[in-house]
């Protein structure tokens, strides 16, 4: 017999869909089927059932092979590594719950670590821009219920946030948007004609890396001022037309992604995108929202916000919190050899950092906490497998619009598996013992 768990939250992306249904065995030990999820989310749930899953910590040996160790040994190694390091990097924190993030923050404070999350390679530049100019935003329900102008800039939800368009942005029928997608004008700005662009009314195939220019041109066009014939590969007539489309809406929303945050210009691109939104508020109502990637990268920024006052790149090594992106950000620290140990939880820098940074992790004492086997676990000295947050343990997560949702446990983890929070609590206790406080 089986039972169905409803209102399940998907722990994949920042869309944080909370309407999944999961069929599990009566004893709650096996997960059979996942409904309503996108292909990626479904795979995430199903992968927890993999027969070849690693269920015990392991340590890399001299000869390069793995040796299974106990959780106690893993805790000891981690606590020693963190207390002995002068300036350890504690990175990741995006694929875990806020409860674990809070415990991790306390460890970071105790050992004087640099705390950084995946925003550092994702929307970190957006966070900098928000510190420059602010951010007029809204919840995704406001988009669903009111928005009639949808602009996707440098993001491709069809691939990265698969249910975003149907749940929130393009297709849903909301209170003031009873016509669904027919009542909305959709604009996509991307150097490629993406699958998202194919459902848009307008696609501006911008020259890669020219986002700042085009955003600036829109601001010029809002004011009806003169533009050069072509900006960023887009003819001016098209720019005026798009500007008019945005101004004539009742509620415009701009979603933006890695196309703007990771291209040259970085935070200045986002500054300009937010300025576009500010300007639009002179004519109509407008909001802007980063398409956050990991399902709880937003949450780690929130937790650190209320504990330290900064959303990422928080250097605690001097006993108080410092924040200086470009200096206290993971890739800069690694590349400049400024950290002497690396702890990774809830992320895979081995796959998603430039290789020159990955090599630095390999060169240092390092621990990776991850349910999966990943390129990060491959280069770390110790790998600690843990229960899947959002599948095998609940906890709070923040959606891309900062709405906190409690994820659900739907199935038991393999016998004897620790959760992130349990592991971290044990490490914290051991750190305190070692420090004698």
């Amino acid at each position: 017999m089986t039972k169905t768990v409803t209102d399940v939250i998907c722990p994949f992306c920042g869309t944080l869909c909370d309407d999944l249904e999961v069929v599990v065995s009566d004893d709650g030990k096996e997960l059979h089927e996942v409904y309503n999820a996108c292909a990626i989310g479904a795979e995430k749930f199903l992968h927890s059932q993999a027969k070849d899953r690693i269920t015990r910590p392991r340590m890399r040996q001299e000869d390069g092979s793995w040796k299974e160790i106990s959780y106690d040994e893993a805790i000891e190694y981690t606590a020693r590594m963190l207390t002995e390091a002068k300036k350890p990097l504690m990175y990741g924190w995006s694929s875990t719950n806020c409860e674990a993030q809070a415990v991790g923050s306390e460890i970071g404070e105790a050992v004087g670590a640099v705390m950084d999350n995946t925003a550092t390679v994702c929307h970190g530049t957006s966070l900098i821009a928000v510190q420059d100019i602010g951010i007029p935003s809204c919840t995704l329900g406001e988009v669903k219920n009111r928005a009639d102008r949808i602009l996707f800039w440098g993001c491709n939800p069809a691939h990265a946030h698969p249910r975003h368009m149907s749940r929130y942005s393009i297709f849903p029928r909301g209170f003031f948007t009873g016509k669904g997608h027919t009542g909305r004008k959709v604009i996509v700005v991307d150097p490629r004609p993406t699958d998202t662009a194919s459902v848009a009314d307008v696609h501006l195939q911008i020259e890669q890396g020219r986002d700042y220019e085009l955003l600036n041109a829109l601001r010029v066009a809002f004011k009806g001022e003169q533009l050069p014939d072509v900006v960023a590969g887009i003819p001016k007539e098209k720019i005026y037309e798009v500007a008019e489309t945005l101004k004539s809406g009742r509620f415009a929303i701009i979603f933006f992604g890695m196309g703007v945050t990771q291209s040259l210009g970085k935070n200045h691109n986002i500054d300009e995108a937010i300025a576009v939104t500010r300007d639009l508020n002179e004519y109509t109502k407008a909001a802007i929202m980063p398409m956050r990637g990991h399902y709880n990268v937003t949450g780690s920024g929130q937790v650190w916000g209320w504990l330290f006052g900064f959303p990422y790149a928080v250097d605690l090594s001097r006993g108080f919190a410092r924040y200086n992106p470009g200096e206290t950000t993971s890739n800069d620290l690694l590349r400049r050899d400024e950290v002497d140990a690396v702890f990774v939880l809830g992320s895979d820098p081995g796959a998603h950092f430039p290789f020159s940074s990955v090599k630095k992790i390999y060169d240092r004492p390092s621990v990776a906490i991850d349910p999966h086997e990943t390129p990060t676990t491959e280069v770390c000295k110790v790998h600690v497998p843990v229960a899947f947050v959002g599948v095998e343990i609940g906890g709070c997560a923040y959606r891309m619009d900062n709405v906190p949702i409690e994820t659900r446990k739907v199935v038991e983890p393999p016998e004897g598996m620790m959760t992130d929070e349990e592991f971290l609590k044990r490490v914290l206790a051991r750190v305190k013992e070692i420090q004698g406080v």
């Binding site: 420059d132 951010i135 809204c138 919840t139 109502k285 909001a287 916000g305 108080f320």
Partner: protein, 568 residues
Amino acid sequence: MAEYLIKNGFVFDPVLGIKGDKADVAIKDGKIVETTAVKSPQVIDASGKTVMAGGVDIHAHVAGPKVNVGRNFRPEDKLFGYKPKNGIERMQGGFSVPTTIRTGYNYARMGYTTVMEAAMPPLYARHTHEEMRDTPILDQGAYPVFGNNWFVLEYLKNHEIENTAAYIAWLLRATKGYAVKVVNPGGTEAWAWGLNCENVHDPVPYFDITPAQIIKGLIEANEYLGLPHSMHMHANNLGNPGNYTTTLDSFKLSEGIKPNSKFGRDQVMHHTHVQFHSYGGDSWANVESKAKEIMDYVNSHDNITIDMGQVTLDETTTMTADGPFEHHLTELNHLKWANADVELETGSGVVPYVYSPSIKVCAIQWCIGLELALLAKDPMRIFITTDHPNAGPFIRYPRVMKWLMSTEAREQQFDAFKHKDKVIEATNLAGLDRELDLYEIAQMTRAGPAKSLGLAHMYGGLAPGLEADVAVYDFNPNEPYAPDDIEKAFLNAEHLFKTGVQVIRDHNIASNGNKRTLWVNAKVNENPQVMRDVKEKFLRYYTVTLNNYEVTGHYLPNPYVIEVDATE
């Protein structure tokens, strides 16, 4: 639990009516007890010092989404003032928007033990509770906002008080909220279209209801339920020249409504940060104080309480669910602007602001706040706040006390204004020579707010049976003192007890206390219509499911539930 006896202090307690006489205060099992009830207490020698109940803050923005926006988007607010971890104290940062850790410690250092978060967007209730959980020492509660909520707008359009009340009860339970907060009623919903409601008769777009209907209806629903606190109001038209008429219009909506609450309060409306609502004139060039007109009304109507929203002349961070106001502000000062509209419920904005003594308007605002308190006939009905951090950070409360207690301190400030003469001309303050005493201060910071919150049975005084929240300040009211001595002493309590635990000893944090979260569980008759409406709205318009909405369990590790029965 340890017993304590605080001996020979000069006690100021409106509950017992002690006005600076020497008295002893005994603590046992977390409560204040008769001095005869303690057997072998630890004795605190308070001779030559001031003893008061723990402070109660009725209105501050200290936890939740917009507060954290303020923290995260203002790294500059952390410059220079970061405090390293030290013993049991974790690291603390931030000036106008401190981290939760600093919030707890700094309130404690001022002798405060209870702090209410003034605006909780229901959809973000979990976030608010997470921050309160991580705020040490303080007892806290949070007010969910109702004034732009679609359920409320739809029910009150037809004056359906019972349905409104049932919905309020449901939402208080779902969000673990404490009171009914109203911010710019109708105006924030209008702001979702970039519009506003500028007076109580300005209709809300689409919903076909006026702010006046919302205000009156929510007062009635609040009394229908008999909640501990009254409806907590932030009126339309905040911060605009000439807005005092809107404020008076809003006040008047409470006329004829009697409190129905077994919690001992006398008011049916608490109007917050009234300083921002007491402006005359019709432009920033001729803005002037209307504090007198406002206080004439308040003094003659017993069913209203207010708090000041005192401008402290600092660089600070404004944050409010009054979305259109923050947009207006960013247009004025051109500083960074964050906005967050919340589906079906509310909105908010955040903008940094510099209240400069060199700017005439800021100085006028400073005068207006103080005038409100100094014109108060009954200090049990007007409370010291800075609408933290909107008019200034809460750590300036002792400075506000100084200004209220000393004409000399006020004159010093007047002399520091660039446009002193114009400021004096536009205000009444220079003509007020009243100096509040510590008894009145205790009314405005302890007994008064506790009573208004419906928590006089727990907080605000030193009568046996109340929670053992007691502050000892190194301040001798019977010796000569300079104005600055007041600020210094009240910024740095010598001892503080919170529910019987000594959290400050010899000016140092000694314990992280036993923090509780207060919320109100109001029982109402089953209301199938409201439950059907709730289900439908979640199905069709919310982006979270109904089953994922309610805040439960570990978000409130130490809850204190106040039960209300409205089933009769």
